[in-house]
Amino acid sequence: MQEQSGKLLQQTLQHIGLTFISLLIAVVIGLPLGIYITRNKKAAGLVLGLAGVLQTIPSIALLGFMIPLLGIGPIPAITALFLYALLPIIRNTFTGIEGVDPVVKEAAIAMGMTGAQRLFRVELILAFPVIMAGIRTATVINVGVGTLAAYIAAGGLGEFIFGGIALNNTNMILAGAIPAALLAIVLDLLLSRVQKMSARKRRTAVGVMPVILLLFSSFYLLPLAYGTRLLAGFTPEFMGRKDGDIGLRSVYGLDIRTVVISDAVMYKAAYEKKLDVISGYSTDGRLKAYDLAILEDDKKIFPPYYAAPVIRKEILAKYEELAPVLNRLAGKIDDSIMTELNYKVEYLHQSPEQCAHDFLLAQGLYKTPRNGTKGLIRLGSKIFPEQYILTNMYAMLIRGYTDLQVETKTGLGGTKICFEALVNDKIDMYPEYTGTALLAILHPTQELIGRLTGNRDSVYDYVRRHFDERYGLTWLIPIGFNNAYALMMRREAARQLGIRTISDLSNYLKKNKS
């Protein structure tokens, strides 16, 4: 928790910075645009319409659009926030000036004021409360939408929120959500005070506002002031895990500038050299697609995640032929083969079924289905390609080698749902990972985890024994690959820097402190 408290300040500052940079740009562009359309009514419909359309794009989608255009990091995040802030500012500037009493406007003309004098001495001052209301709305929107910036490595309080969601850690979610909510409330309150200022004070406010906006904007830059030569992008989940960023810092002493990023864009960002080090999954197909190299976990902080079928004991007893058939896959798929298979499905868009079929055929394991009617085996899977591929392989093996029928229930969400379905006799088996079973289902003590991780066999043995005792579930022989967390770098960059292991990386960073 202490490690996180420094981060809270940093993220809050970043969040304020993000909010105000985008706000500043929105004011600089939106205000003149709002003024312009009061002078050119024909353009008003078009400008307000466009800004309105921008506003209707769901925020996560808008960020999504930004990635191919602007990549990751602060620029796309600020751009997205700026686009959101634009409508309230343009619209309120327009309605504010339009709302000024026409007699007063005419009086300003009749007194001999020039266009600029009318604008700055009369119209803008009188429209001030309405314009400020727009800026207030934009600020609150930006604080809220700003949390999404954490998905694309732009920082802010979203890092805690998404980390908390990924880790199912309520305290962590609140650590991000409460400051974000408070920030919105406090800013709203402050700006409402400004909005209600008397006409005399408004002139001062107009002078002071840009200074405050700039000051707050600069907060964003503070965390960037100290940094290392390489930049790491970690998922929110990885940031909060003992076997993630925290472990890297404590065990390896890894001191690297880190941004938080969604795993959906992380690999591509590494490939495009926006990030140097990422936290990925060791069998992810994108590893191959983007030519990334895994750094060896030489101090064994990432627990092994060996995949093996988990199956209900009664089913094994009932159909004795089943276990040998399922074990035919054991030891057949190593990390690189699994990566290759995932690559075919994720990146080349092959169907999991086709992929499973091709693989079994190549291994000489495929047999045409016997179409037997002996009994029904229900296979489950979690909701990602690797699991779909494995489930398809098991289905083909069962149909080809036994007289049993197969029903597949793929896409059962995450670990929790699959496991509950299995325990409650809704499915008969699904592929599970030893590390996941250990950490997400058995919840052993920290001390025990420390002892077990680092050795694939001890984790497997522990998991197998406890699943058998507690739940009446059997772990069959591991398939062979280890889909664990891994640090990755561009293969080329790793080779140039001579980095092969995480220790190498840590040493490199220490030697090249900037």
Partner: protein, 268 residues
């Protein structure tokens, strides 16, 4: 001197002002009189270019109004609005000092002028200089409006129904104080109203307008007693008795007074 030559204003095919020409001598007070929609306000606003004419020319003191920057022109022409048109975010002093500030007068000169005008219009400077318009009554606001129009010593004063929004008692007071302003004597004033009494009371000459044309122009007595046509006659008919009484009374006040005294003496 203001010279208006063949001025026409067409709004969406409708002739609001239809080929009007006239001349106003320096120091004259002219009233544009007419019913709503007769074109009197449009005509007024073309003089300081708040509205541009469709055709025709306007000259003020030998200069065509179109030949100068509109801002410069307007700073030399005072303008009073019906609903005061004061700047709600300016204090009373700042409102009155608007044009002098635009003209770049120094602060002390502006302050002195503001105080003098407030006193002439019976607004206590100590009490109201730092007030905002909304803190004043309607009559006081209108006095500020008049002061603002006069602040920079404009030779020409345009007034658009300046007393129209006031209740009768307030109107009488404001009008009285307005008429007593010493600096009006040298000014060319054009005032728009639909109030016949007001027109008769204030005008050197009345221009009676209907459908964008001047139906008759002349002194109040001229229009009252020698109407050019049936329209002019009927326009004044409603209030003819009262008006004629006041006109005679004004010119022959002493005779009336004597008759009154004589009547009183006989009673006692």
């Amino acid at each position: 001197m203001i010279v208006v030559k063949n001025i026409t204003k067409i709004f969406d095919g409708y002739k609001a002002v239809d080929n009007i020409s006239f001349t106003v001598e320096k120091g004259e007070t002219i009233v544009f009189l007419g019913m709503s929609g007769c074109g009197k306000t449009t005509l007024l606003k073309m003089i300081n270019r708040l509205i541009g004419p469709s055709s025709g020319e306007i000259w003020i003191d030998g200069r065509k109004v179109d030949d100068q920057r509109p801002e410069d022109l307007r700073k030399k022409i005072g303008y009073v609005f019906q609903n005061n048109g004061l700047f709600p975010h300016y204090t009373i002093a700042e409102n009155i000092g608007t044009v002098p500030r635009l003209l770049g007068w120094d602060k002390e000169k502006i302050r002195a002028r503001t105080v003098a005008l407030m006193e002439k219009l019976h607004l206590s400077p100590d009490k109201y200089a730092s007030s905002y318009p909304h803190q004043l009554s309607g009559g006081q606001q209108q006095r500020v409006g008049i002061a603002r129009a006069l602040a920079a010593y404009p030779p020409v004063l345009l007034m658009d129904e300046p007393f129209g929004a006031l209740d009768p008692i307030t109107r009488a007071h404001v009008k009285k104080d307005f008429k007593e302003l010493d600096e009006l004597t040298t000014k060319t004033i054009i005032l728009v109203t639909h109030d016949i009494q007001e027109a008769v009371e204030l005008a050197d000459r009345i221009f009676l307008l209907d459908k964008g044309k001047i139906v008759q122009d002349g002194t109040p007595d001229h229009l009252l007693f020698q109407p050019a046509n049936e329209y002019v006659k009927s326009f004044f008919d409603d209030q003819r008795f009262q008006l004629e009484a006041t006109r005679i009374g004004a010119s022959d006040y002493s005779a009336l007074q004597r008759a009154f005294d004589h009547f009183k003496n006989r009673q006692s």
